[in-house]
């Protein structure tokens, strides 16, 4: 029953995407929303059912890929780690689809999209949802790779959606960088399979030391490319050419999370990551935090600002995971928790920017001002998003950052205090800048572009309200889940 539900979570959005692509107008939107809602409902049910345990089952095998050790199996796996990603992907996916039903249209002042272009959008969006669910419930590296590659192509198509010169170039760049990451992943898999005859997550621990180091480095490179970490980070800001709901979903909440999820999987399956790789991962995560931070101050486009913030927050996730690799389970749990906490916080921020652009036609920090009077709901959501993302208690990212730092302190030695100072510094600067930007955009004098408007239509406003609640509830759902992750 559970197995069937998990399989359906991949099949329903995939079929829904094909239908939404084939239909026109309202039936296309209807198919998309229905499929996304069904998937989210199944995900919630499945998470509740396996709560505290794990469910693994084989669906089929691949005798044609017979290795010396075991035949690779097609199957499903739902454990606490997978549940976290599954919830992020399906819930925010549903909200994104609902939001898009209004965002996409002729009323959008930022980008008018004629109705003939809509079905294509829903097709790729739902195909992406299906592939992300696949990533979350993959029981082995082979299947994970399979869906990982699918997300790359969906991302390419969706970034290029507007088909103007900039978006085509951005989509192309994202494709190349993430595809290079995919090849690192592939080579890691080949080594793993050649050596152990298995694609199981646990097989990593069976590798001899030297080779394990190589495989982990390759996996880390793949994760960096997918999650837009230094030195692969440049594709993400450019990917902001995508429609804003896509930026919110693919490039903040979901697809980039596949990269960090890969690391979380690799580390937690056997806890066999070599310490050197863990150190490099942690150090690069901190470096990424600050490199991304320095870009904040020169951005005028709200979306690009959020993109750099996303890069930094993915750094946080990797930081937590690296602490796990170095021996702190609490730090690891914090990193995983950050996946869901940041997912909701950043989706809120992006969709606020989408709402602003929808009604004003502008995303420029310098051109906007005094929006709070006409768009109170959006303003509220934006500030909730800021509080949640920068980690002000009791909002979502506070809890995950807190756990990450506890993990660092737990490790003892200099790591704890040093990280404590660095993280607080980053959070403080980010918070100040975000608040500054927020007050510039929402308060102060009303600028000409900001004069005519009101909050976005109900479908979009409703999503913002739901996300605000998510910013508060995410840790309440996430913390109990991550408690089950352990050695």
């Amino acid at each position: 029953m559970l197995t069937l539900a998990l399989v359906l979570m991949v099949v329903i959005p995939a079929v829904g995407g094909v239908l939404a692509g084939a239909f026109k107008g309202a039936s296309s939107r209807g198919a998309a929303v229905t499929a996304a809602a069904a998937t989210a409902a199944l995900a919630a049910w499945a998470t509740a059912t396996v709560y505290g345990g794990a469910h693994a089952a084989a669906v089929g095998d691949m005798p044609w890929l017979g290795g010396p050790a075991a035949t690779p199996v097609v199957g499903v796996l739902l454990d606490p780690l997978g549940s976290i990603l599954l919830l992020v992907v399906t819930v925010i996916g549903l909200l994104t689809v609902v939001y898009s039903t209004r965002y996409l249209g002729m009323d959008n002042r930022d980008h008018r999209v004629p109705p003939t272009e809509h079905p294509r959008y829903y097709f790729w969006l739902l195909l992406f949802l299906a592939s992300m669910v696949g990533v979350a419930i993959s029981p082995n590296f082979l299947q994970l790779f399979f869906f990982w590659e699918l997300t790359t192509v969906c991302s390419w198509a969706l970034i290029s959606y507007y088909r103007n010169e900039k978006s085509l170039a951005a989509g192309f760049k994202a494709l190349v960088v993430t595809q290079v990451g995919g090849v690192f992943f592939l080579v890691a898999l080949l080594i793993l399979f050649a050596r152990t005859g298995s694609f199981e997550f646990g097989a990593l621990a069976l590798l001899p030391d030297r080779l394990r180091l190589v495989v982990f480095v390759l996996l880390l490179l793949a994760a960096w490319a997918k999650a837009a970490q230094v030195p692969f980070h440049t594709w993400l800001p450019e990917a902001m050419e995508a429609p804003t709901p896509i930026s919110a979903y693919l490039h903040a909440a979901a697809m980039v999370k596949a990269g960090v999820f890969l690391m979380a999987r690799s580390v937690s399956s056997g806890w066999a990551m070599p310490v050197e790789v863990g150190m490099v991962m942690g150090a690069m995560a901190v470096l990424t935090l600050f490199i991304a931070l320095t870009y904040y101050f020169v951005q005028d486009d709200l979306k690009r600002l959020l993109a750099y913030s996303t890069i930094a927050h993915l750094g946080y996730v990797l930081l937590g995971i690296s602490l796990g690799a170095l021996g702190s389970t609490v730090g690891f749990r914090g990193g995983v928790l950050h996946i869901i906490c940041h997912g909701f916080a950043k989706a809120t921020l992006f969709l606020c920017v989408g709402a602003i652009a929808y009604v004003t036609g502008s995303r420029s920090i310098s051109a906007l001002g005094g929006l709070a009077k006409t768009m109170p709901l959006t303003a509220a959501a934006f500030f909730v998003g800021v509080l949640a993302a920068t980690g002000v208690p009791p909002f979502s990212c506070f809890w995950s950052k807190f756990m990450i730092l506890s993990g660092a302190v737990q490790l003892g030695g200099a790591i704890g205090p040093v990280l404590l100072v660095l993280v607080l510094l980053e959070s403080l600067i980010a918070f100040s800048w975000m608040v500054y930007v927020g007050q510039k955009v929402f308060f102060g004098e009303r600028t000409p572009v900001a004069c005519v408007n009101s909050d976005p239509p109900p479908a979009m406003s409703g999503v913002l309200v739901a996300l605000m609640i998510g910013c508060l509830l995410a840790p309440a759902v996430g913390i109990p889940l991550v408690q089950w992750i352990g050695r």
């Binding site: 290795g67 390419w156 088909r163 595809q179 592939l186 050649a194």
Partner: protein, 500 residues
């Protein structure tokens, strides 16, 4: 006599019989010509389906064997048989032929009779070459393919068709004549060792061919080289590929589809069927050379593809790259890599065949193949865009479609023995995505700048009909590759001999 006794002959000879029927009809009965061609090729497809249903995948010997004496004193006989290695390629050939005839329904208007005649004769040649189990008979079918293809390029081709056709023939002949010498020498060896002439594949396979000292004194190395050259030109292995872009660009759509879909596969099929089992020591000796040529082909083909302005040329060079993967899989030589190479032959036939067919669709409407003459087609021809995208994604190996299965099997199978080559080859995956998706962007997504493109008609039902079976198989192999890999597994395991 039971049906089994002449099923393969019926399969091979049905197209030829229909071709001779065409000769009886007047020249201007074009509709009748087309229908006879289509019906004959559908009949052949049906026969191929019957072969499939009667095929026992666990049996590694040739099945449905037919032997009829031909020139007994020379040991030449009409011998046909099918095994796991040829079955998939026979099915591919039989599938592509009717689709090609359907798709050229509206694109070939001159000398229809000759065109259908050549196509049918070509099909007999291809099927015969896959099914022959007598080296002499194989050679006959091999040469039988040459002339129809020469005419298809030379008569129905583009502007530089004569140059391209002659180049194609010269390259192919140069290789195949050496192979003929090799075949004759093998038969002579058989006489020397057993006292009787024989060209039968099984007899030749049981020979021990001396290795000797040095290249020029080693019968096995020389024979290997003679066969390998013929096949390598056909594949084509870099640097013997230069005939391919010319032939593809000048050939009519149907010719390109068959050329890329089936003819190239005869090269890789030949290497697997003849070179590997007949000359095992030489094969081992040549492995490093071919692996490196494969890696060069993969990267070189991809880079050159990327730089092309002509859609057909781009796809032609992408074939060089993709065939490099197949060569890599064949020479890496494990069960998985060989299986991957075999299924990838089918995959390449499906996806590249589809791509050539689809390029033909817009060529028929606009009479240009230059990428810059298009742009923005997605809005004008949505159905066509979808079809092209599916074929593209299959070709670059998107998971869930056929190309992924082949590439992945080749890479996993080859990695344990040749990790460096595989790592270099895997860059071809990135490049493949880059040049194919750039093509999609430029043709379909870029702004519509040429007014004449605004009124292009979407796929006609006939064009859609020709594409649909290909898409079905792309998904089928992508999702359920076991159905097809099962057919060849025992045969490949037998050929490669145990191990992974």
């Amino acid at each position: 006599m039971a049906l089994e006794g002449f099923l393969l002959s019926a399969l091979v000879l049905t197209p030829a019989a229909a071709a001779s029927l065409l000769l009886l009809l007047p020249k201007d009965a074009e509709k009748a010509h087309r229908w006879i061609g289509l019906v004959a090729s559908l009949l052949t497809l049906g026969l191929a389906g019957m072969v499939w249903s009667r095929f026992d995948p666990s049996n590694v010997a040739f099945q449905l064997v037919e032997t009829r004496p031909w020139l007994p004193t020379l040991g030449i006989a009409y011998r046909l048989g099918i095994d796991g290695i040829s079955l998939l390629l026979v099915l591919l050939t039989a599938l592509l032929q009717p689709l090609v005839l359907i798709s050229s329904w509206s694109s070939i208007h001159q000398r229809v009779k000759g065109y259908v005649f050549a196509m049918l004769l070509l099909e007999t040649g291809m099927l015969g070459a896959f099914l022959a189990t007598d080296l002499f008979l194989f050679y006959v079918f091999w040469e039988l393919m040459l002339l129809p293809m020469y005419f298809i390029i030379g008569v129905w081709g583009g502007e530089r068709r004569i140059y391209a056709a002659v180049k194609f023939v010269l390259f192919t002949l140069a290789g195949s004549l050496l192979m003929l010498v090799g075949i004759l020498y093998l038969s002579y060896l058989h006489k020397a060792q057993t006292g009787a002439w024989s060209f039968a594949y099984e007899d030749i396979r049981s020979l021990t061919i001396p290795m000797g000292e040095g290249f020029w004194h080693s019968p096995q190395l020389l024979l290997f080289a003679a066969f390998a050259l013929a096949f390598a030109i056909k594949v084509p292995v870099w640097p013997l590929h230069t005939w391919l872009p010319d032939a593809h660009v000048e050939a009519p759509t149907g010719g390109s589809v068959i050329l890329a879909g089936v003819l190239l596969k005869l090269g890789t099929y030949g290497l697997l069927r003849y070179n590997r089992p007949l000359f095992p020591e030489a094969w081992e000796r040549a492995t490093p050379l071919f692996l490196w040529l494969a890696v060069i082909a993969i990267i070189y083909g991809a880079l050159v593809s990327w730089a092309q302005k002509d859609m057909k040329k781009l796809i032609a060079y992408s074939s060089v790259s993709h065939m490099g993967f197949i060569i890599l899989g064949l020479f890496a030589g494990t069960v998985a890599s060989t299986q991957g190479a075999l299924i990838q032959m089918v995959n390449h036939g499906l996806s590249t065949g589809a791509l050539f067919m689809l390029v033909g669709v817009v060529y028929d409407r606009r009479h240009t193949r230059l990428i810059e003459d298009y742009g923005g087609l997605a809005a004008v021809m949505p159905l066509y865009t979808g079809a092209f995208l599916i074929a593209t994604l299959a070709s670059i190996g998107l998971p869930g479609l056929n190309g992924f299965v082949g590439e992945f099997l080749i890479l996993t199978g080859s990695f344990p023995t040749h990790p460096v080559a595989v790592i270099l080859a895997s860059t071809g995956i990135v490049l493949g995505a880059v040049y194919m998706l750039t093509l999609v962007q430029r043709v379909f997504w870029n702004p519509l700048v040429h007014e004449e493109n605004r009124t292009l008609a979407d796929l006609t039902w006939r064009e859609a009909l020709a594409f649909t079976p290909l898409a079905v198989f792309m998904v089928w192999i992508g999702v359920q590759p076991g159905t097809f890999l099962r057919l060849s597994e025992a045969a490949v395991r037998h050929l490669v001999g145990g191990g992974l």
